[in-house]
Amino acid sequence: MSRSDVLVDADWVEAHIGEPGVVLVEVDEDTSAYDKGHIPTAVKVDWKKDLQDPVRRDFVDKTGFEALLSARGISNEDTVVLYGGNNNWFAAYAYWYFKLYGHQHIKLLDGGRKKWELDSRELSTDVPERAKSSYTAQEQNSDLRALRDEVLAAIGKRNLVDVRSPDEFAGRLLAPAHLPQEQAQRAGHIPTARNVPWSKAANEDGTFKSDDDLRALYESEAGLDFGKDTIAYCRIGERSAHTWFVLHELLDLANVKNYDGSWTEYGSLVGVPIELGEAR
């Protein structure tokens, strides 16, 4: 797998707008951004309403995912190009999620919505009408997703990468600094985790850094053992999906999982070990 297999730039997207077999999908948590203007022909996926089970804390099941993609007119053969706000956090999450359910042809727009906006490229408020498809998903690929017991068993054995900000890692903040610090669960990080904030993997315009820079960041600077399996986590699993994309898709490391339960789950578990303080 190479960078060109999983990442496209804005020029590529502009050249393929409206092309049969290519579906642009904007993924956000706050979908007012899509409603204000989106890349022409892009359809919308709401990270919360469309991808999360409305009752349990879990994903929509296989049937629900099939219904979602069918309703959006996405077929199994389509190349899906994902992009979104927040430096592609939710688009990277959707990329990981689509992979989890076995979608084959999928790419991320490098820089996402931010790069597109800063380039002053065209945005449209027209909502495309796509004919419904009949999508068939695979069973979830458990090689990509870590659950809590696996994370506990990985302490001191596998690479654990905490991709939150240093203040969240150290326990000074419970949420990213664009959100109120409202939660009641314990602060800190999973013992033995390395702190490599997701933002270190991105340039200011939201594009990913070069493969050489990324390899140096995780291997030389953070001290990850690329020979070991890796689990990435953040607060709810979307920033760590960004890092999962870097490690698994761009750097082509085997056995990288995203722990989507992340700190909102781990920091609320009774009796589990927690460390406070700066990265070592």
């Binding site: 927040n86 906006e117 240093p166 203040d167 109120p180 904030p197 200011e204």
Partner: protein, 101 residues
């Protein structure tokens, strides 16, 4: 913004009621006297360490909930427009800053 989400809404999340313990940095971005409705505000720590980023609201507004301390606020907008300000945040305070680019 509820605890089950993590995204940055345009302009930043609303200040919750009774949030006297928050260290808020908020303001507006202007260009030629008019609000900049498309762009990004980022909060940076020591050594330009990224802390947070929000897309600007339609009125050019932004808001952060920082830890107490000194921060760099950087604004990016289409056309290569950018500006920086140093801001101080403290618990129970709302630090207001207007940025002209």
């Amino acid at each position: 913004m509820s605890a089950d989400g993590c995204g940055a809404p345009a302009g930043g999340a609303a200040v919750p009621a009774g949030a006297g313990d928050q260290a808020v940095v908020e303001g507006r971005v202007l260009h030629d006297g008019a609000p900049v409705g498309t762009g990004y505000a980022r909060l940076l720590g020591t050594g330009d360490e990224f802390v947070a980023e929000v897309p600007l609201a339609g009125d050019g507004g932004f808001r952060f909930f920082a830890a107490p301390g000194s921060w760099t606020l950087r604004v990016l907008a289409p056309g290569g427009l950018r500006a920086e300000r140093v801001v101080d945040a403290g618990y129970g305070q709302v630090t207001k800053v207007e940025v002209t680019i």
